[in-house]
């Protein structure tokens, strides 16, 4: 088509590289490459299937929670209850699970997460316009309290085949954690083709403008939370299969890690900026980072210290292009 030719005329080689350079996820991708190289050096048999599988057994839930967190942050909100939702899910399912009702319990738990994390937060933040940070902090406390009530000490029952399944290869080639990750990312790709996706960016970028364009802002804010809760639910299943118990502490590290991952991945806390691919890079960075610290044989006394330093370093490297951009703006 004639108009089409004119539109895509700018797609020359130079603008292609410029586009990549200007992409919000580019810096985090660079950091990821650096960290992977470091990891390859330190971790033996890095590319063997079993090592990849063990790695992704812990990475997959983090990546999924980070996707959830990113969607919510892009819509201009924040989810402090992500970690507690995971704990809530594992405690609930492990408490009720027997050998016979696995699917039913998982579906019920999944629904509970979507209602508790998604609709409840979304209703209060979108419809009632409550402040997101404090609202989700409160729901976090409620869900954590509930999880502690039904399972004060770690326990419950998870059938053997469930955690065996997570630690195996699908059709003998594809590690199951990666399969789950692919399913999650596929869901995201599907969502990113809908109008809802663009509305989420619009609402996060300029709420008034979105309203003026005839977008139902409160509904979009709510649906951002609901969609995010789907990913949290999937991550919950992964954690359940990974830890094979229900514990109210199991989800808590994922909250801060997902926030860190999203921000290293170029998602702006002001909303409307950044994309989920960057956030996935960010989550992988955080994941590999734990590996590096472990395989570099850092004494356990200094591990947390080292982790903090490396996160700061990763964040600063990821922020360098932004620093330049702001200075070059005029």
């Amino acid at each position: 088509m004639n108009t089409n030719n004119n539109i895509s005329k700018a797609g020359s080689a130079k603008s292609f590289w410029l586009k990549i350079y200007k992409d919000t996820s580019f810096p985090s991708f660079l950091v990821l490459v650096m960290i992977v190289i470091l990891n390859v050096i330190l971790q033996p048999n890095f590319f063997s299937v079993s090592v990849v599988r063990t790695n992704f057994m812990t990475f997959t839930p983090l990546i999924l929670v980070t996707i959830a967190q990113s969607i919510v942050i892009i819509s201009g909100s924040i989810d402090f209850s992500a970690g507690a939702s995971l704990s809530f899910f594992t405690c609930m399912t492990a408490f009720f699970m027997t050998d016979k009702n696995v699917a039913l319990v998982i579906i019920l738990g999944f629904t509970a997460v979507i209602i508790g994390n998604g609709f409840l937060n979304g209703f209060m933040i979108g419809k009632l316009r409550l402040q997101p940070l404090i609202t989700t902090y409160a729901t976090q406390a409620i869900m954590l309290g509930f999880a502690m009530y039904i399972m004060p000490v770690a326990g419950g029952y998870v059938p053997r085949f469930l955690y065996k399944f997570y630690n195996s290869n699908f059709l003998k080639v594809l590690p199951v954690p990666i399969l789950i990750l692919i399913i999650g990312v596929a869901i995201w790709i599907l969502i990113s083709k809908t109008t809802l996706y663009r509305y989420i960016y619009a609402v996060g970028g300029n709420e008034e403008g979105a309203y003026a364009s005839g977008i139902n802002v409160s509904n979009i804010k709510m649906f951002a939370h609901v969609i995010a809760s789907i990913f949290i639910g999937i991550a919950g299943i992964c954690i359940l299969m990974l830890s094979a118990t229900g514990e109210w502490r199991s989800g808590s590290p994922y909250l801060i890690n997902s926030l860190a991952a999203a921000i290293i991945g170029g998602i702006s806390l002001r909303g409307g900026k950044g994309d989920v691919w960057g956030a996935i890079c960010g989550a992988l960075i955080i994941g590999f980072l734990n590996n590096i610290i472990f395989f570099a044989r850092v004494s356990s006394y200094y591990q947390i210290f080292a982790k903090g330093m490396i996160i700061l370093l990763a964040l600063s490297i990821a922020s360098i292009p932004k620093l330049f951009e702001e200075k070059y703006k005029f």
């Binding site: 088509m1 108009t3 089409n4 004119n6 539109i7 700018a10 083709k193 809908t194 109008t195 809802l196 663009r198 960016y201 619009a202 970028g205 300029n206 008034e208 403008g209 979105a210 309203y211 003026a212 364009s213 005839g214 977008i215 139902n216 409307g272 900026k273 200075k327 070059y328 005029f330």
Partner: protein, 508 residues
Amino acid sequence: MKSFEAVNVKKRFDGVIALKGVDFKFEGPKICGLVGANGSGKTTFAKICCGLVRRDEGEFFIDGNQVDINSPIDAKKYGIVLAHQNLSLIPDMSVWENIDLGHEERRGRIFFNNKKARETAFKFLDDLFHREISIDTKIIDLSPGCKQMVEIAKALSQNSKMLILDEPTAALEYSHVERLFKKIHELKDNGISIIFISHRLWEIIRICDMVFAFRNGEEAGIVDFSKQTRDENLIVPLVTGTKGYEINNTKSCQKDFKDAENILELKDISFKNKLKNINFEVKKGEILGIGGLQGQGQEYLAMLIAGAVPLYSGKILLENKEVRLKQPIDAIKKGIYLVPGEKTTDGLFMDQKIFNNVVFPRFSLRKDKFFLRFSKLFKITDNIIGKTSLVPAKRDIIVSNLSGGNQQKVVFGRWLQFFPKILILNDPAKGVDIQARNDLYRIVKELSEQGTTVILYATSNEELISNCDRILIMFEGQIVEEIQHEDICHEKIVASSLRVGGEVEHKQ
């Protein structure tokens, strides 16, 4: 739309009455002009019509049927679309996504159709503005004029029955205005009514079928051009409320500054491809105009002198001493003040009181002791409010509740508390009514008599002609012409802006 009627529309914001009860009625597809001073309620009325602001009282009738408009979604249902002044674009989205937003081209019910959306966006932009903006640019990288173009294209691309254009021409240049007018006539022929809001009376007179004048939140009168002649003098008294009214169009008594001392000199200033080898000097007390077509680097030049463009090459001499301006505070400390082009984002703290907006610059300049003496600061603020004749004259009003002209007065007024050596005005009269504009330029002239140098960039040539002692014309980042005071006239400015008769150093 056969008829549209609004009856007794009322609105008040925080105790400030914006609309006292407006009646608005027209029949048949028509182009209706809407004029009024800043703060007369034009924009509020437009926003109420499209559901963006909820009315306190009032009823709407479309084709005789009563309709209830409470949100933009309702308005969309009835086909009422507003092209906003500076509101509805999402900064981090590309041009085509913004044009598409809210009425997406879809494939099925939920998936969107990017290819078609891009084509539509391209079509509408191309129609009006001939490929001056790439549809893949992000809004945040566009100049105010281009944003306005996108805003208009966005409104046009929707299937509307009534289109409200809120000061569409304020940031547009002449050739674009012409094309917009042509498009408006086309729309009218297709049965779409248009409400056209503008401060420029000649535009209203040219294209409108009838004119509604607003004053202080009321309808002050209607001029129907099918019955009355197209004459400015019929409209002006309705807007100002007084019979006699003089347009400040006389040439100022331009002075000769050949012997005055240099205050600012720019030598070989370049910045990326935006500014190329800028050389000029300004004398003390001079009013220097910068003209030319829109987006030829004038805004960058203004920003550069104000210290907001750190990475320039070349030299800036202030009072014959070289200075390096790395950030705005460097310029402010030296007495160079900027009134930015986009007041809402670059000039004001919109959610703060007038008082706070006025005193903030004092803190960065460390004019006060650690503990503030509020009585003194209140006095300074009141003084500025008086000088600029701000309405309402209360220092506690939140700035976002003020009208555009009064907001500009706050931006402008806060520099009056210091003695500006150089004042840079970036299109100060954009979206400002005649009265406020005259107030502003009156103060500018007073300042220049006291020895302030003023650098004025304005999109309207009339403002340059009536105020400047000397005008520089820019084209593609270069100064192509210097017009001395005896030669200043409209034809000369237009000719040199368009590079008529001059050799065009343009490679395409």
